[in-house]
Amino acid sequence: MAAADLDIQYVAHLARLDLTPDEEARFSAQLGRILDYIAQLRELSVDGIEPTAHAVPLVNVTRPDEVRPSMPTRAALRNAPAQANDLFLVPKIVE
């Protein structure tokens, strides 16, 4: 697939990123070149090759179902940009 497939406005929206028109143009061009470079992976045959999701061959890593002390609410909210009534505030969510 050609780099021209990158709909930067759509992808930026998926990623919740505001871009200036200048950024849109600049990134589009830069990412276009990068995607062209990345396209070389298509040369390889990967038939029958398993994908590697983890570099370590571990399985069944779990923790016991035990309660541990939580953070004090004040500490949890300490970094909140906006808060009230022990809740994190955000602009009104419309369903």
């Binding site: 505001d18 990068i34 470079y37 990345i38 090759i49 590697t52 940009p81």
Partner: protein, 487 residues
């Protein structure tokens, strides 16, 4: 001066009561006052807290609690990507403005338990994305050997601080070379441990399956000491290997008779600077004279590593950085609804390289593109890992240049991201395979005098071999004793 010593050296003197931890730390602070205005390695520094830690180390020693504590009282700086309770955690980004971490990273807990003086927050490329530390939101860091040049990245501040004697060691993180490359460009030792050997709990994630924390030091032995303190299984990290802390001290001796070293033919590329090539060639001859057998090996899929990396790392990063949205912490730019708030906050809070990678990562995961990009890249990753494991059946370790060139000038590559990515061509494959890698000084360019790094790559859990080879080379040469001219 105390700040110019190795850890081993300073530890010995602390042990002999020749110097106190407070004096040693003060020497570092004085050095920072002297050079950091120009070097700009440190983003912030809590002197009172550091001095209190030093005093506590001295008190512990006075109480007789210093046995087997080689890091007691040793000042170690931290890349701004590691959580320290009560300290700002910024990742050199505007989007984490004001965020104070309520918890300690596991490595920080371990260093503190070992009595180290964990201080300062040093500069980096924003969210560890970069190879020059020019992507920091708070200005670039200079290379101590030439302030107009970059120290490498993303752990540029860590490398510069150690090379400039502002601290005895520093912790950084390595996702595609972000420890080894700056170590090479600044002339110090940098280690990326085997994936899973050091806990990632408290390391702000860039690419979860590639990130590892590791030490910058001025000697190979020092790196082993720090690794011993920070490694070992952590139940808070599901990707943590079920291994205890690794003690490589016993391996650090002797010559290299019986050791087989491989030179991967695919690393002999066109773009290597001739001075880098000749320094590395000389290093290989030196290793041979120390008794190592040198063989040529092949890692056939090397050329695909950078492309593979930029798909996998950016995909994981696009999800890891989604949490920076202004809801629970950090920068917030308001909006009429949450979506607007997110977009404005992230638009204002992230720098251009971070945005580029988030967009690329989001794209390669998006509907219709997943198979062609992400899935394919994960399969190529298998091939790259298999290349290494096969090579390690023939040899004990691999030797390569760490970087194709020495430090370049600031501003030279900022407008060409692809060019910047290719700086990591020798370091990236190691992260994809999850193996261990170390860089140490092996020479200098003539004019200007800039460090050149030698990279040694080892199999999973092969750190002992890395240290053995690196130490033998280091002791047979004097590169590690060279200091940058910055005054």
């Amino acid at each position: 001066m105390w700040n110019t010593l190795t850890i081993s050296d300073l530890a010995a003197r602390l042990g002999r009561r020749e110097v106190s931890a407070r004096e040693a730390l003060q020497a570092c602070l004085d050095r920072i006052d002297q050079v950091d205005g120009r070097l700009h390695a440190f983003l912030s520094l809590d002197r009172a807290d550091a001095l209190a830690q030093a005093d506590e180390a001295d008190a512990r020693r006075a109480r007789g609690e210093s046995a087997d504590q080689p890091l007691l009282g040793i000042p170690i700086a931290l890349k701004d990507i590691l959580a320290v309770r009560g300290q700002p955690l910024g990742c050199a980004s505007k989007i984490l403005h004001g965020f104070i971490s309520p918890y300690d990273a596991t490595v920080v807990e371990k260093l503190k338990a070992a009595g180290a003086v964990v201080f300062g927050r040093v500069n980096m490329d924003e969210f560890a994305m970069g190879s020059s530390t020019e992507n920091s939101a708070f200005g670039r860091t200079g290379n101590p050997w030439d302030l107009d040049r970059i120290p490498g990245g993303s752990s540029g501040g860590s490398a510069a601080a150690v090379a400039a004697d502002e601290c005895l060691a520093a912790l950084g993180s390595d996702t595609g070379g972000s420890i080894r490359q700056p170590a090479a460009l600044c002339g110090c030792v940098g280690l990326k441990p085997t994936y899973g050997l050091v806990s990632r709990y408290g390391l702000v994630a860039f690419a979860s399956s590639l990130d590892q924390i590791g030490p910058f030091t001025r000697s190979v032995r020092d790196a082993a000491l720090v690794l011993h303190a920070i490694s070992g299984h952590d139940p808070r990290d599901s990707t943590s290997l079920p291994e205890p802390a690794i003690d490589c001290a016993a391996a650090i001796h002797g010559d290299l008779r019986g050791i087989k070293l491989g030179l991967p033919r695919e690393y002999r590329i066109e773009g290597i600077d001739p001075e880098v090539k000749s320094a590395v060639d000389a290093a290989v001859r030196q290793l041979e004279s120390l008794g190592a057998e040198i063989l040529e090996v092949s890692l056939p899929h090397t050329q695909y590593a950078v492309a593979t990396y930029y798909i996998i790392a950016t995909a994981e990063a696009s999800a890891n950085l989604a949490r920076y949205d202004g809801v629970r912490y950090g920068l917030r730019i308001d909006g009429d609804d949450p979506i607007e708030m997110y977009a404005r906050t992230r638009g204002a809070g992230f720098g251009p390289e971070v945005k580029r990678r988030i967009i690329l990562g989001t794209y390669v995961l998006s509907s219709g593109y997943y198979d062609a990009y992400y899935l394919r890249a994960q399969k190529v990753r298998t091939l790259i890992r298999q290349d290494f494991l096969r090579a390690f059946e023939q040899v004990d370790a691999l030797v390569t240049p760490t970087t194709p060139t020495a430090a370049f000038r600031a501003g030279e590559k900022v407008d060409n991201p692809l060019q910047m990515y290719l700086c990591d061509i020798f370091t990236i494959p190691c992260n994809l395979a999850g193996i261990c890698g170390l860089s140490l000084p092996c020479g200098f360019t003539r004019e200007p005098r800039l460090p050149i790094g030698l990279q040694i790559l080892g199999p999973p859990m092969g750190e002992r071999t890395l240290f053995k080879v690196a130490h033998a080379y280091e002791q047979a040469t004097s590169w590690h004793r060279q200091k940058p001219p910055i005054q």
